[in-house]
């Protein structure tokens, strides 16, 4: 029987394994994971810490037994230490195991702060649900937490821990939170919302060291702006692709340091595939490879690998990266890129800005939604955007990423159809308003290229 080995039990690994088995039940599909759990949502961890979700049990979607019942060979708590591409074997527990096809879904690890004291106890990384359960129990006896890094996980953890009633200091070198994805014109409502929850922001501030007591547990964070006492530290810096196995096996890595794959999720070695946070994927606008995508991307890539392994021909498209989250209590999102990234790369653009409302103006709970779209100056083709405030941010960002992928222009969006139903949508769609505003500026020759 032909054997497919999947290394990794996250979104990409579970998708690749389950779909491969479903498409071809005759294959032996083995999943190797170093963890004791599978099929849970790590994205939900900050909200359990924040007591917005009652229990970690709610994050589990399935069980190892269920996967076994589906015919998968589940190797839990089993670390793969080596891949031999010539012999077509992996090594676990000093024993070689053969494979015909291999799918690498080894995910990521969190970047560690490069400062003294980083190995002290009490410095927590949000990834493994078992460690998060232990940390959650310890939090009951804690009062003050320092969160290092104001990226998405750092912001969710800071907001969640403050919601739980803890005193939270959020430290980041950047000039506003989420500065790698968010434009500065959205900084104020996000900062206001986090501060309203009780988070103290320390921006433009570098972490210089972690200090601990005789017990080896962190008790302070030394920063460029003074020392912050704490009972624990949560870090939320960058995701780093976990490429150790791939690199040792001789697979090609790309300019981000992640594994290079083609649009079928094939690596540089025959019969070896990769998906999820361990790979780099080109951005749809400029074909520059990027990393740090979402669980939804990982699952979709695992699916593509599975289809192709079982004889299909399915290509994964370059990505337009819709994203969204709640920072404090304020909803933000975007797709592709904002002004911040477009200016950094040097892509010329014009702006379309508009403010709409989430429900009919007379319906209780209507909120303002702010839309900023970036478009190519000559064609007005959509290249990116940021949306914030109120309901529907996620859906608008999903739609716009798809529209951009299909080459939509501001002309298309200015005359798009929309739902008008008082409880869920106003007469004028906020996206349409932004595009109409840009066309009006163009008619008056006021649409400036940035």
């Amino acid at each position: 029987m032909e054997r497919v080995v999947v290394i990794g039990g996250g979104g990409a690994g579970t998708a690749a394994a389950t779909i491969t088995k479903r498409l071809n039940p005759d294959l032996k599909v083995s999943v190797f994971t170093e963890f004791s759990d599978i099929a849970y949502s790590p994205c939900g961890i900050p909200f359990v810490h924040g007591r917005e979700i009652p229990s970690f049990d709610d994050l589990f979607l399935s069980t190892v037994e269920r996967y076994r019942e589906d015919g998968l060979d589940m190797r839990m708590e089993t670390v793969v230490t080596d891949i031999d591409l010539d012999r077509r074997t992996i090594t676990t527990k000093n024993q070689p195991e053969g494979f015909d096809q291999l799918i690498l879904c080894t995910g990521f690890f969190w970047e560690q702060p490069d400062v003294p004291g980083v190995n002290l106890d009490g410095i927590h990384y949000v990834k493994d649900i078992r460690k998060s359960m232990e940390f959650d129990q310890q939090l009951d006896a804690m009062k003050r937490i320092v969160v290092v890094g104001a990226g998405p996980v750092g912001v969710e953890m800071a907001g969640g821990l403050a919601h739980r009633g803890l005193q939270v200091d959020l430290v980041d070198e950047g000039p506003w939170v989420l500065h790698e994805i968010l434009d500065p014109d959205v900084a104020k409502p996000v900062h206001d919302s986090l501060e309203a929850r009780g988070v103290t922001l320390h921006l433009g501030t570098k972490v210089e060291a972690f200090e601990g007591g005789k017990d080896g547990h962190v008790n302070a964070v030394v920063t460029s702006d003074g020392t912050l006492e704490c009972d624990a530290v949560v870090t939320g810096l960058h995701k780093v692709p976990n490429t150790a196995l791939a690199e040792a096996a001789g697979l090609k890595l790309g300019t981000t340091g992640a594994v290079k794959v083609d649009d079928h999720m094939r690596t540089s070695a025959p019969g070896v595939w990769a998906a999820g946070d361990v790979v780099e994927i080109p951005h749809g606008l400029n074909m520059i490879p990027i990393v740090g995508l979402t669980g939804a991307h990982a699952y979709a890539q695992g699916r593509v690998a599975a289809v192709n392994i079982t004889g299909g021909d399915l290509a994964y498209d370059p990505v337009w990266v819709p994203w969204g989250m709640v920072a404090g209590d304020y909803t933000i999102g975007g797709f592709s890129m904002g002004e911040n990234l477009a200016k950094s790369i040097g892509i010329p653009y014009v702006l379309a800005k508009g403010v709409g409302i989430t429900k009919a103006r007379y319906y209780p709970g209507a909120q303002k939604t702010f839309v900023k779209l970036l478009a190519e100056p000559d064609t007005l083709r959509l290249i990116g955007g940021v949306i914030h405030g109120g309901e529907g941010v996620k859906e608008r960002c999903d739609f716009l990423a798809f529209a951009a992928k299909r080459g939509a222009t501001l002309y298309d969006l200015a005359y798009m159809e929309n739902i008008y139903s008082p409880p869920i949508g106003a007469l004028f769609e906020p996206i349409q308003i932004a595009a109409q505003n840009a066309l009006a500026e163009q008619r008056q020759n006021k649409l400036a290229v940035a």
Partner: protein, 111 residues
């Protein structure tokens, strides 16, 4: 093992991104409420005083060509079909792909 060329590409990307981004953060955030100056580590003067201004003077089309020539863009991928004004059409072999389509998603994966 990473080759010397791969290392050089990765290094070039890391450093150039860092300094281009730092310059933009300062500029964009300057007049916006609730923002501060980003923390600036010592060093990298050559990047900020020479590379950033020169990079900005180069037109985007030339930058794109240079990135392609330097191997900074993806290979093994189709460039996206994006012709404004033309409706999107599925690839010619879509029917074959659908025949070998994937089963519907089940609520059993990690996210």
């Amino acid at each position: 093992m990473m080759s010397g060329l791969s290392d050089a590409r990765r290094n070039l990307r890391e450093r150039s991104e860092k300094h281009l981004r730092l310059a933009v953060l300062s500029e964009l955030g300057r007049d916006q409420p609730s923002t501060v100056e980003p923390y600036k580590a010592k060093g990298g003067r050559l990047w900020s005083t020479l590379f950033v201004p020169v990079y900005r003077r180069v037109p985007w089309a030339a930058k794109e060509k240079a990135m392609g020539a330097l191997g900074m863009t993806a290979s093994g991928w189709k460039a996206p079909e994006r012709k404004p004004g033309e409706p999107w059409r599925p690839p010619a072999d879509m029917a074959d792909r659908v025949q070998h389509g994937t089963p519907p998603a089940r609520d059993d994966s990690a996210s």
